[in-house]
Subunit: 380 residues, 4 copies
């Protein structure tokens, strides 16, 4: 790709996990070139991390604000920035870039608190720059397939949405062992008000809405902390009522042994049902009511244009997490190129936005509120 | 088996489904001989049905009460009776036999209402005869395996119980098409206060308690009727709090396309997790925390005595629904033989009892109460 | 069932495995009544075993020949006999009953040697009595479904048949540990010329032909004995050429760790493909060429009459090995009842016969011949 | 990565499939920079294709030989070249680069004929440049895991290797419809002597040897062309004898409806068994003899260093085909960097080489020879 989009990154230095994922995702389809970074919270570590990954010394910053200021002035400065810090920093970092017209690609959840999220939405709206939220599971081809099938009416009127995201890695008090990932994800100061519900429940919620096309009306939640001394929830049970007649359940857990990233979505309507699992992402189970269950494979017979648009290789050759993640980046690139010409992105570009991010934080907020009121139904 | 137990049956005539299942279950291990029956609600149909299945004419009754009276007086009269009528009749039928000292094997749910259930428990306690409730899923070998593993502490302290039983057969208004099964199961007069929650939710609930060994403290339920004009719930979402710290969710549905009898149980504790699915009953997934997931097969390596006791054939040769059902009958036989000698059944006989039946009806009652109060937490 | 067929049994005493299976299978659909037996090779054990299972003392025989003679003379003597001895005895036992007009239900393989098999076919043809061979896997509903689909042309012209039956139980020299099952199955004197190829390869071969409707023309086989000192093959690789253009492979093994009874059949034609696994017998995978794969469940949408005819319970409630076995018995009963009136059994009765048994022994014989000639192609 | 290796590409222009895969694979881990190309067989198309993917005009060549000559002279010329042409061109193209000391990364099979393969091995040995063959399935983490487990003795002595690679895309005469992929893959002039056996059978064979560590001694093959008028085999059955006692079977097919890229490997030894499927590559099934089957996931409990070394993201987040392919590239980069210093690559770098390529072509050659001799055993 001759015309790669110049990209910067905030966060994602040594020891971080998700930064490397973003970089691979940005690279896969050759739409971006990572040229600048403020990769860590200390200048020394930032610069060393930049050197590790081949960012030129004069584009390695010790501090994200300095980066925003200078890059905005450079003739060939970054056109977009990836924000891969812990949640509590998203808003402040994003605003610095947004106000300078630099497009933002931001990890989820949008922010740690609802008020921050609302403020960030305003900042994004005011800026005119694009805001892409990496709810990466929406990039899986069979998730796109499912969404399109629902939109096409293949399932009839949606009645039920069952979403779950169990993990087991926090079954013990891992945050006391020095594991950085466990530390910040269980720390309210850095993660926000939600633990499991924020870290993975928002993914399940976002996916449920993305595929079903439904909007949540109210919920009743029962959050728990099973590991003694943990500061945030590590298990969440939620009952949901969507606008219209549809209902659903959502389960997020970090204490369910035998589950790695077992995000699973099931959607049932008057005419059929769909089932999808993140750990086996190239398959979509579809049952038209009264017919045999069908296994639709990515790119195989029965797979649709929505899936094909975000596929890279033939059926039977699995695509995975990074490919889905890369699709968000590639759609961001498409939108950025359109924005250069003052155009909206094409309709098929459906990456999650700052509004979806707000919806996710509002969901967490509602879960926390409901749980504090002993699981009373609350509006979202 | 030279010494088969003489058995009668009430219900299960022509057009019925579950009666035939009970007869196959009673026959498989050769512990019972079906010698008498009042198989239908009209005398003509009763007698014709009896002739169909080889019950001698002088033991075919037009009416269950006549059968109870005469069989109790016969020198070689029945020692036990299977009750396979619609739910609303269970209590009255059972009482006629219990009061005459005839052991009762009764289909679930125990009764249609909580007050009937309580009265029946009293009748059973007063009688001294045995009362066996055919929550047949408890008879599957890998369910026994799971229960034993929990009891042995293999999972540590139980934290989570996820139970679900989705079906799809009532996705449309089948009860208007003349299908008898659909008619009575959606009719409050014959089924009781619960629809899906009573018919299949009680199975999931019973299984959850049977395996986990937990007792439910309170629940919050959101029952729904998605098919217009239907008189009972066809979908139920339930959040559960057990005594101690464990929590859970339960989903029962008759409107989820692509699901036949997809009863599934997952139990997670501090030390490990278990997953079991009724449609693939010979497998139990076990994950000791921090170790690879293991597939334990019925009779295979890692399967325990609790499973072996109720298995008939070698691993890799699947046993199914009828075999699990037969195990309840065979345990009933063991208990009946012990009772002849004034003995309790051996400890490994763990068939569900009238008390479990009461618990199931109380569960349905609590779900209905909670749902009417907009999902408030209610005690069970 | 008022009119149960009087059945005798030869073999199946204490310590035997398959005898108990036959008895459960005979009992399940209530078509037979076991009234006589010569259950073991010694009179004492025979009589004790008979008492165990409730056979009256005057119908318990110490010797199969005595049983044949007396039962044939009794007014109410047996109408059919089940032969569940080791393979080498099948022929002699069967002939004693056949010559007296008593129908034979015989375990597989038919005999230990090809010459015995041929002689037995003649004896059966001469007798006029029925001969039912319990290749029980043909009784699974989804196997019937598959066979019917092939016959209906759903797969077009068959090109490929892939059959396999791996086990692991003989990975070590179990026959030296005193396990009776392992002893006789690895003993040429009792099993015949084939080890794995005879015990389980014949099942796979029978199933391949039963479903595909093809006749084998020639084969090339590579038999092996991996466990030192074992007297028969414990692994068999076979390439097959059927009449017409179809080809196939067959693998049978007793030394493949992780396999219990992993019999699996795959059939591919010009228009579609089918896949079935014995360990998950209620599922049939069907792919019409160019369409998504479909999961057909027993009794579910897309399942056909051939499956329904041999099903007992609704979809989603698994039937297993015993049910499939019982179907062979029930079809035998149907044929016996027809024979009483001088009628042939209805066309849908398709249990394996003595001719199928001969085909199986001929298959083993051809495999042994080919393997001795270094895998040369030989006619079957 | 500051120091990306300069890479050229031959083949992979518009309409090609595998070229794009190689480019994504080269890009993912940021070890290579694609700077030159001779992407198609006509100069116009080559140049247009180069422009498409951002190769500078002065590094876009109309002809691979011109590219080899000029790049070898450039100060900043390519250090390695990817060859992604149809099979018949591999040898000639590779030689031009090898003789100029440019490392070769070449698609499989190595060549279309055995004599070409032998000549190419000599050219590679003489050159001193590295030769990497993209048998990409060897790059899957769980394949590495399996190989290491075998090497560590976890399976004991290997007895059996079952390999298969069925597809269905050539079930009809697709090569007559204008599909370029189908045309050249069924054309002996471009593919060589093997059809399915060369295109996918070699993958299965390579994988079998890579994991088991075994060397093939002899084989008996039955190749077929089921689609009338096709010029190469579209189905292959092979029986294998390895050095030592191990045996195996291999099935490759392009006419098996319902199979996309269903490459599957099963390895059984005296102490355990392993099963792996390419379509679900993040799972490895491992059964220690006499213990329950274990599901080892990429990066999960029980996964080893060999897998971890080639993994990018946490367990439960699937990696796919491109990631495995990228691992071959990344190992090539490691070897190239070592070679700069005159060092051998570290022992854990195990990409397939020109010798493996020769072994693959020799395997195809032996299959063709055996099949022509009616499946006689031939040495490889």
């Amino acid at each position: 790709m001759a015309d790669r989009i110049k990209l910067g990154m905030v966060g994602g230095g040594r020891d971080a996990f998700i930064g490397g994922v973003h970089r691979m995702a940005a690279r896969l389809d050759d739409q971006f070139e990572l040229v600048a970074g403020a990769l860590s919270s200390t200048p020394e570590k930032s610069l060393a991390s930049a050197a590790d990954i081949g960012i030129a010394a004069d584009r390695a910053y010790g501090d994200y604000k300095a980066m925003a200021i200078r890059e905005a002035r450079l003739k060939d400065g970054i056109e977009a920035v990836s924000i891969v810090t812990p949640n509590h920093m998203h808003a402040n970092v994003a605003k610095e870039f947004l106000r300078r017209g630099i497009h933002v690609i931001c990890d989820k959840p949008l922010t740690g608190t609802l008020s921050e999220a609302k403020a960030l939405v305003k900042a994004a709206e005011k800026s005119g720059a694009l805001f892409v939220l990496t709810h990466n599971y929406t990039g899986y081809p069979m998730v796109r397939q499912a969404r399109q099938m629902v939109a096409d009416g293949d399932l009839g009127d949606i009645r039920l949405v069952q979403a779950e995201y169990p993990q087991d890695w926090l079954s013990t008090k891992l945050e006391d062992t020095g594991l950085k990932q466990a530390e910040w994800r269980t720390d309210p100061a850095r993660s926000g008000t939600g633990g499991a519900i924020g870290d993975i429940g928002t993914h399940a919620y976002n996916l449920a809405c993305f595929v079903s096309g439904l909007t949540l009306d109210s919920l009743a939640a029962d959050l728990d902390t099973f590991v003694d001394g943990r500061m945030l929830d590590d298990n969440a049970h939620v009952m949901m009522r969507f606008n219209g007649r549809a209902k659903g359940m959502l389960w997020a857990s970090q204490v369910a042994p035998g589950n790695e990233n077992a995000l699973r979505l099931r959607v049932y309507g008057t005419k059929g049902g769909l089932e999808w699992s993140q750990e086996d992402p190239n398959y979509l189970w579809y049952t038209p009511l009264g017919e045999p269950k069908r296994l639709i494979t990515r790119g195989g017979a029965g797979s649709n244009d929505a899936a094909a648009r975000v596929s890279r290789i033939p059926p039977g050759h699995p695509e995975g997490y990074l490919e889905g993640f890369a699709t968000i980046y590639t759609e961001a690139a498409t939108a950025i190129r359109a924005a250069r010409d003052g155009q909206a992105a094409p309709a098929e570009v459906v990456y999650p936005t700052v509004q979806d991010g707000l919806a996710g934080v509002a969901f967490v907020d509602a879960c926390v509120r409901s749980s504090k009121r002993n699981g009373a139904w609350v509006n979202v």
